[in-house]
Symmetry: C2
Subunit: 110 residues, 2 copies
DNA sequence: CATAATACCTAATTCTCTTATGCATAAGAC
DNA sequence: GTCTTATGCATAAGAGAATTAGGTATTATG
């Protein structure tokens, strides 16, 4: 498990990019996908994920559609046009940040 | 100016590595060095820096020596043996985090 | 049939940083 | 010569994003 401090500020970027790559997904599925992609080192907590998803929906970045699986409900999230527009900006911002940090820390990334 | 959210959790790593590379430095000097290395995109605020330096000193990672420059006082910080020991751990942790993130975000870094 | 996994959610707290403020000396502009 | 900027330290109140802890309920597994 990575130091969770570093993860701060990356949650929205992760959500946006994963939805951009994979299409519609539900909350629990996002946690599992991130866990899998990160080899178990990034464990999104529900207390952080769900409020963030709701916030992003309220901001018009995501939209939802509900699906009933038996008696259980799944709430699928997908990108709105606005959301699609900012994905690359967010990813680019992250990459720029990494490059700056590698200079400041005087280390090679990659 | 980078999104400051991403910066969270990196302050201690920055301080440790900069002191490791440059030897003793005082607070204001650290802010200027980081500003310079980051081409003005990372501006450490005093409200974050000073309390963090004090905390790291209290934790035994840094030690201080005061120097009078005219009537002004400079407080130089340098790494203790304990501090030196954890610098590479912190940097490695950051690099590992970056690699994980590049996989999760499905992007190439560098 | 009990436990783990799936699936959603909110509230209280914690932690880190920003913003605002304060004090004081030194240098440069005009 | 005085006014602004830069240097240099520091703390306190507040914001923001996460963790921790709690709640509800269905489905699969051993």
């Amino acid at each position: 498990m990575h130091s969770t401090e570093l993860l701060k500020g990356t949650l929205q970027t992760i959500i946006l990019k994963i939805l951009a790559d994979h299409g519609k997904m539900y909350g629990y599925e996002i946690t599992q996908r991130v866990k899998e992609l990160s080899a178990g080192t990034i464990l999104l907590t529900e207390g952080a994920l769900y409020p963030t998803l709701h916030k992003m929906e309220a901001e018009g970045l995501l939209r939802t559609e509900t699906e009933a699986i038996g008696k259980r409900i799944r709430k699928y999230y997908s990108l709105t046009p606005v959301g699609k527009n900012i994905v690359e900006d967010k990813v680019s911002e992250f990459i720029a940040f990494i490059k700056t940090m590698s200079t400041v820390l005087n280390v090679a990334i990659a």
